[in-house]
Symmetry: C2
Subunit: 325 residues, 2 copies
DNA sequence: TTTCATATGTCAATCGGTTGACATATACAA
DNA sequence: TTGTATATGTCAACCGATTGACATATGAAA
């Protein structure tokens, strides 16, 4: 790898001059600038960002922790975050925590060692102290850690109300909610709260099942939903906390010989690509993934630049009516 | 952020001693080691990897370029790659090229500036020179760039034969293949070759449609497949080059009132999670994503360590029979 | 008593690039 | 002629950690 010295030698100027060209500082004649650029091109020179970051005390790297990008919601979210980050001159160090607390802690330490400028958390097992202690700019998804740490979420409560109301309007008599693990202190739990409230307001029988802490084991989804149906054969409406869960619910309905939407109405959450791809296509609550990713990047960069940002960032949700309800 | 000097001061030893503890070099008494560790803990010290990487000329970062992690195949693959990389002490800088040549070039430059130790390419638009020129350890997926650059692929030809043969055995009379863009010099094109060969060996009428270069625009998939069906109403078998495409094919069949698998047999490729989730569940050719990800990490690390690795790494594929064929 | 393994310290160079202070030189305008 | 904006160079310090050379001190074995 050529260094700035090689460029200086090749261009017949001093290292300082090359640095001035590189950083647009001081006076440089067009001729010199040309020479330096030519030398950089000839050598295929790329400035060593490690050295620059070390000096500048800024790496332009954002650490991104998600449960796993193999889950389509996080795949889509990460894709958008990376897009906007790159556009703003930042790079993404990707971490898949698989919701393991130990691994998440290791990741945070690793990211600190690597001097990331900020942290975006689409994950959520850790206790608060850990984050606070890290003293890094942080943005979280769907989790309110403290007054000081900004978070981004969809309007979970409203989403829950809309979905449950739709089930009620469809005349469902016994509805179920499939939630993530409610022990995790997530804002997504408000979907559950709304579900219960709307059900009770309307005197509709309702049950809830929780997936366990390791939420992204697909085979587990199926089993849990299967058990739900076995225990409650008369369920005729389901509000699933993700489209993936909704898809599994459709599948399980099928194995029980129950037609969707004729016998059972199903509503998902997220509105990921596969929601429209499934057959029947999934009626769902849309989270604006692109905008949420964009804002995450914006909020983290503003914090890095020392600006104040709002703590609470709730995006409106919309009902996307398709075939399952 | 505390530095090694702060630790030294706190522990009442010299910087050299702390460094010796940190790197397990030279003689250190247990007592001193204890003191140093205590100081590091008290200060919540994390060594600055930028500085270490700069000195060591090694960043332990792997650059990973894929079209986009929002595509489930790459989401699953990236998840596995990151898993194995982290386990081996490497970090992943994630890049979504969206198959844009310009962006891919920018990414490669960026990764070089950031001193990545190696490059894993799940993407493929660039001309060869660019890679060779970068002189980095590289592993590619599904693309043979040169004799010197190792690649990983599933046995595309065999997969194509198995899939097409199955369609023929099902008695299909007119079969279609939905491929990616064949102008990209991908090994996946062998699926197409196998498709044509098996069709001709068996005297079965066959057509092919290509998706255009920007492969991951989902709305485009649907339109292309729709047009295919409009042009060839009598198609009764489809071999799609990915499960996502297969899913769209199912959907389009539905809009044309054609039943799957009764009227049209469909076979996908990849065996991503949603293949089993779809209804009907997709019969597909399994690529061992986990093993492929593991090998990618192994091959890149071996190269980083200066070891020789085999160029050609083909994984066997298996037919996963489900409901669509 | 000598010798040597153990234990720790000081010092300076290095990784690659940035920056401020300061010197010097040219050209043009006042 | 003087002053000043432009242009470039030299030099050293710095970012945080690593390392080799070398000094020094202690305790135990020979």
């Amino acid at each position: 790898m050529p260094t700035i010295k090689d460029v200086a030698k090749k261009a017949g100027v001093s290292v300082t001059t090359v640095s001035r060209v590189l950083n647009n500082r001081g006076y440089i004649s067009d001729a010199t600038r040309q020479k330096v650029h030519q030398a950089m091109e000839d050598l295929n020179y790329q400035p060593n960002e490690l050295a620059r970051s070390l000096y500048r005390q800024k790496s332009n790297i954002i650490g991104l922790i998600v449960p796993t990008v193999s889950h389509p919601f996080f795949g889509e979210l990460v894709s958008r975050i990376e897009y906007y980050a790159f556009r703003a001159g930042y790079k993404i160090l990707l971490c898949n925590s698989h919701l393991e607390q130990e691994k998440e802690k290791d990741y945070i330490d690793m990211l600190r060692r690597n001097q990331v400028d900020g942290l975006i958390l689409g994950s959520h097992t850790l206790d608060v102290e850990e984050y606070v202690l890290s003293k890094l700019p942080i943005v979280t998804f769907d989790r309110c850690i403290s007054d000081a740490i900004p978070y981004i979420a969809s309007d979970n409560y409203e989403g829950g109300r809309i979905a449950t109301t739709l089930l009620v309007e469809h005349g469902c008599n016994k509805i179920a909610h499939i939630s993530g693990n409610l022990e995790l202190d997530l804002l997504a739990n408000k979907r559950y709260e709304a579900f219960v409230e709307v059900a009770e307001e309307n005197d509709v029988e309702h049950v809830n099942i929780e997936t366990s802490i390791n939420v992204f084991d697909d085979t587990q989804y199926e089993k849990i939903i299967f058990d739900l149906f076995k225990a409650h054969q008369d369920i005729d409406g389901i509000f699933a906390s993700s489209d993936v869960m909704a898809a599994y619910a459709i599948k399980v309905c099928h194995t029980f010989g129950r037609k969707v939407p004729e016998d059972v109405k199903i509503i998902g959450y997220d509105d990921i690509n596969i929601a429209s791809l499934m057959m029947p296509s999934i009626t769902t609550i849309n989270q604006p993934i692109d905008e949420m990713g964009e804002l995450a990047v914006e909020l983290i960069i503003k914090q890095i630049e020392g600006k104040k940002v709002p703590t609470k960032n709730i995006f409106p949700v919309t009902l996307v009516k398709r075939e399952t309800a």
